[in-house]
Symmetry: C2
Subunit: 406 residues, 2 copies
Amino acid sequence: MGKNAIVGQSGGPTAVINSSLAGVYESCLACGAEKVYGMRFGVEGLLKKKYVDLATVLPTDVEVELLKRTPSSFLGSCRYKLPDWQTEPQVYEQLFEILKELDIGWFFYIGGNDSMDTICKLAAYGASVNSDIRFMGVPKTIDNDLMGTDHTPGYGSAAKYISSVLKEVIRDSLVYDIKSITIVEIMGRNAGWLTAAAALAASDDCEGADLIYLPEVAFDVDAFVEKVRTLQETKPSIVIAVSEGVKLADGRYVCELTSDDRAVDVFGHKMLTGTGRVLADLLSSRLGTKARAIELSTLQRCASHIASGTDIAEAYQAGGAAVHAAAEGHTGEVVALKRISDKPYQCVTDLLPIEQVANLEKKVPLEWIIEDGTQLSSAFIDYARPLIQTELPPMYVSGAPRHIHL
Amino acid sequence: MGKNAIVGQSGGPTAVINSSLAGVYESCLACGAEKVYGMRFGVEGLLKKKYVDLATVLPTDVEVELLKRTPSSFLGSCRYKLPDWQTEPQVYEQLFEILKELDIGWFFYIGGNDSMDTICKLAAYGASVNSDIRFMGVPKTIDNDLMGTDHTPGYGSAAKYISSVLKEVIRDSLVYDIKSITIVEIMGRNAGWLTAAAALAASDDCEGADLIYLPEVAFDVDAFVEKVRTLQETKPSIVIAVSEGVKLADGRYVCELTSDDRAVDVFGHKMLTGTGRVLADLLSSRLGTKARAIELSTLQRCASHIASGTDIAEAYQAGGAAVHAAAEGHTGEVVALKRISDKPYQCVTDLLPIEQVANLEKKVPLEWIIEDGTQLSSAFIDYARPLIQTELPPMYVSGAPRHIHL
C-alpha cells in the first residue's frame, strides 16, 4: 500500500474548510503517512499534476493554526464532475497513474454533495481495478444540505455570520423615525438552511427578522405584500430575510420576475441574483415605502473573522476522523456528524457509505417552518443555536485578520 | 444656568456613535450634571418632546459597556435641517422652551457635517437671545469627510471592516482556477475615504485590491476596461474596489450609465446604488468574463462585531472632551481629533469653532491617489493604518453579539 496521503478541496469555499484540511494533515502525520500532498484545485488540478507537499507550506504549528483561521480553500477548488467510470475510464486511468507515481495510500476529498460524487466514483473504479487506495470524503458546505449528517462543517460559521450581521442590520434599520423596509438576500438555491439562520437573530435584545422566506415553501407575491402592509401598521421598520432561491408556485424563481436571461454556471444551475432587489422594488412600488436590498453574497461564506468556534473544531475533527477511518481500512465512505445530546449539545463523528450522501440534498423539514412559511419553529432554534457557539478570533496583524495562502 | 445636560445623535449611524454617547454620559455625570437626557431621533424628536432620562436606561456600568459595543444610534437619529434662525425663529423658540423646561445647561450633538449645522445655528440663536446654554458638537461619520479633524470617529471601524472583508473576498475569489472579476462597491458619495480603506487589505499575506476607484478622480470607462483587460493577461482573479460615487468626466455618476430615474433622499441627494453592478455588467459584456458585484451597503457602517478598538476609544474620548469643554464654558464648538505623533501613533482631542466644520467636506488629497487614480500611496497607508488597530470584541451571548436598545 502507498506510504503517502493526498487531500483535495472541492466545491464552494467556507470559513472552515481549511480547518478540515488542518485536521486531515495533522492526523495523517499522526497516523504514519510519510508525505501528505495537497491537490491544487481539486481533482481537476490533480489531472494536470498540480499538487504540493504540505510539509513545505505548513512547516510549523503556527502555519497550521493560521490555516484554521483562513477562509476559502487554501489548496484551491474546482467544480469538476468526473465522467462515468464504466463508459469513460481514461480519466480514471490517468488519475490512478498519478496516484501511483505519488505512492498514495489514502485519498481525502473535502466537499459537498457534488464533490462526494467524485469520491463515490473513485472508490467504485478503485474497487473495479483492485486498487488498495482508500478514498474518504470529508463533508463541507455552508448550505447544510448533505444527507445523513446532523449538520455540515461550514454551516455553523455562515449561520453565525448571518445571525450576527442581521442583528446589526436590524439595529441600523431602526435609526430613523420613519417607515423603512430592508430585505436581506441570503444564499441557498433549494435548501433554506442559511436563510433559516436569520431566525437566530431573535434574542432578548433583538426582535429578529420580521419575515423569513425559504425556498422550501412556494412564494406568493400578493400574500407577501399584504403581510408587509399589515406589519407596517404597527412597526415603522421592517426587516425581511429571503433566500436567493425562493420560487413561485409555478416553479419560477422570484428573481425571474423581471428577467428571463439569467446566466448558467458550469453545472448548468441558473445563476440567481437580485431576488432581494426584485422584492424591494416590488414593495416600493406597491406600498410606496423606501425598500433597501442587501445581498450577503460571498461575504457569508468566507467570514472567518466571525467564524463559530464549534464549527472550526468540528471541521477539524471531521478531517481527522476521515484519516483514522482510512487508517483502519475504510474506503468509499464519508464522515458524518452525529448529535448525541441536545442540552448540553454534544456531537461526535460517524461514518456513512458515500452513496447515501452523494448528489442528494437535505432540506429544512416543513414542520419547522411556521406562521404561513414566514418564521422558524423553536425546534429549528434548538437545532441551530449550538452550531454558532463560541468564537475563535482571527490573528489580527496591523489591524486586519492574518491569513495563510499558497 | 441649567443643572441638566441633553445629548442627541444625528445623521447616519456608525459602529461607534454609541461609544461617543457613553463618553458624553459618563463625563456629564463626572462633571456634575444632575440629569442627562437623551433626545430620541435628534432635534426632530426633541421638538416632539421625545427624550429619555439616560439614568433609567443605563442603570449600571454593564449597560454602558454594552452601549460602547452596540452599533447604530442608540437614541435614534434624524436628518432634520433647522431653518434659518433669523427668518424662522419659531422652531428655535419652541426648542429653547423645551430646553428650559428640562433645565438644560449643556447641549451635545453627535453627528457629521450636516448635523454640525444644527449646533452652529443653535449656538448662534442662543447668543442672540443671551441664552447661557452651551452647545457642543461631537464629530461622527464613517465618511471621514469632516474638515479640521485628523479623522472622524466611525471611520476607523468602517475602514477595519472594509479592509478585513476585502481580504476575505480576495481569498474567496482565488478559489477556482478560472478567470473571475469581483467588484466591491463601497460607500462614499463625494469623498473616497471609505473606498481608499480597501488599500489596507494589502499586506504580506494579501496582494490587496487590484484597482481602487475614488470619486475624487474622474472615471474613464474605456481606460477602466483596458486596465482590467491588461491585468487579466497575468492574473486570473481580479478584485476591484469602487466608490458608489464615482463620476464620469462630464459629472454624471457611473451608476447613471444605465438609469436616469434615481430616487432622491430627504436632503435632495441622489440615491446611488448599483455602481458595482453597472461596472460588472459592463466588464462581462466587453471582456466576456464572469463579473460579480458585491455591495457592502449598510453592513459597513454598523459592523461593530469587527470595530476598531482605537476608534471606540477615540469616539468615547471625543464625547467626553465635549463635556469638559462645555463645563469650562465653551459653546458653538466641535471636538476635533489632533494627531500629535505618527510612529508611534498618538492622538488627542482638540476644539474647533463650528463654522470651520459645518456643511464642509474634506476629500482624499489628490497626491495620495496614485497609479492613474487606481491605488493609494504609502502616505495614505501611514495615515489610515493606525485607525484600524486593536479589537474590542462584542459580548457574545448564545453565539451572537449582544446589543443594548431602547
